[in-house]
Each structure stands twice: as C-alpha cells, then as structure tokens.
Amino acid sequence: MSEAGTTKKFLYVNRRAPYGTIYAWESLEVVLIGAAFEQDVSLLFMDDGVYQLVKGMDTKGIGMKNFTPTYAALGDYEVNKIYVDRDALAERGLSLDDLQHLVWEDENEDWAEKDSIHLVGRDEIGNLLEEQDVIFNF
C-alpha cells in the first residue's frame, strides 16, 4: 500500500517511561498502523524510553492494561530495526538481558530468526537521526 511507490525512512523516537503518560502506548499504535504502509521503519528507545522494552512487567498494581507484550509482535509487522541507547540503559542500571528478546524472521534466509534490538552509542544515534525522512518523537 505504499503511496505511489514512495518509500521514506520513518523513525519513531520513544523517550518516555511506558506508564505515567500515554505516549509510549500511543506511539506503538502509530507504529502498528504505519506498518501497513510499507515504509522503511526504525524505532529508537532512549532516555526513560528504554524502560518500555523491559521484560516481565506486571501492571496489576496500577490497574492498567500491560501493552508491552505487543512489542514482541513487531517482527511480524516487518518492524525489525529497533535501536536502544546503550548509555541510557547503563545509566538506569539495565542491560540487554533485562529487555524483551525481540526477533524477526528473515524470509531471504529461510526464515532464520534474527535479533531486532541493536544497542547503539550516542554518536550512532546522531547518524541515525540524520538519515531519516520523517521523525516521530514520543
């Protein structure tokens, strides 16, 4: 459904904790709808946004739906470039092992399962932002 064959580079920047505000969830809603447009999509998690990907969340105590299992479906939507600010993780006492293991299946390599998450440094984030056509900042 790409519009007149136009493919642009879309980056969704997620900077906020998963709960406390609705931005994380409403960002994910845009990503899921946007996936139907067959654009070149990347996600970046930085600042408190890295908390969005932490595994094993339990939201019973705050009476809200836990939407974070939805991240695991992103691979099925061909959203498989997920960048996480390595320093933001470290500053919060987190590492890759604390995050959900997000994967996608590469149809060009006999559906081999590949990691979607890539830890990046802040210099790389600068380059990532530089190469985008459209940036959503949530």
Binding site: K8, Y23, E29, V30, I33, G34, I135, N137
Partner: protein
C-alpha cells in the same frame, strides 16, 4: 514546500497548538502548501466545539476552524485518540449512542493512516508538542 503538521498537545495547558497555528499561518502566508494538520494524543482536544474560553483570551479551537475555512485546510483528529478523550462527531455519536457531538467546524475524525500518509506525501512533517 508541502508541509504536514502534527499537534500533540491540547489547547491552553501547552503552547504547542498556538505555535502550530502561528507556524501554519506563517507558512501559508509565505505561499507554502499545508497538506494536512493531524491532531494526536491530547492534541485532539483542539477540535472540541464545546470550548468556551474567556472573551479576552484567544479561542484556540475557533482560530483553527477559521483558518481551515479560509485556506481549505484538512484538520484531522485521530479517531483512537478522540474516542479516549471524548471527541465525538455525528457518526460516532450514533455508533456509540452518545448525548451529543462536539467536533468543531473544519475538523474531521479519521485514522492514524492519515498521519503516515502526511509523512509520506509532505516534503516535511513538522511536529508540535512536548
């Protein structure tokens, strides 16, 4: 240049909608095309006709409506965000059996695809909000 505008905060609490309005007006004055203005998150509150600010203050909602009339702007409220926040047009009123509808003139409710489309079709997508 063809511009897409995204407004992510409601009126009055944040200046985002004011800034977006002034930017849009200035861009039109310079001869640029506004492909669409898309309201998301609490930004959908910019489209409620039930707003009644004091006489000596700006009317953020009415100002958008008037600009839309003047320049045939496409002002779109995200349906998912609108449903959560009590923005109801005539169709939604019927569908959900609500007592009234409150979408201001010049605004329409539609899906997030309209935002992605604006990102694809516009030369620049300019985002206002925190």
């Amino acid at each position: 240049m063809k511009l897409g505008i995204m407004v992510n905060e409601g009126p009055y609490t944040h200046q985002a909608s004011d800034s977006a309005y002034h930017f849009t007006k200035a861009a039109l004055a310079k001869g640029h095309e506004i492909y669409r203005v898309f309201f998301y998150h609490d930004g959908v509150q910019n489209g409620t006709d039930f707003t009644t600010p004091p006489q000596d203050d700006r009317n953020v909602v009415k100002r958008w409506s008037e600009l839309a009339t003047e320049h045939s702007l496409d002002l779109v409220l995200c349906v998912a965000a609108a449903q959560r926040r009590g923005l109801v047009d005539v169709d939604e009123q019927k569908r959900h059996g609500k007592a009234g509808h409150n979408v201001a003139p010049g605004f329409r409710i539609s899906g997030l695809g309209q935002l992605i489309e604006a990102g694809i079709q516009a030369d620049r997508l300019v985002v206002f909000g925190d």
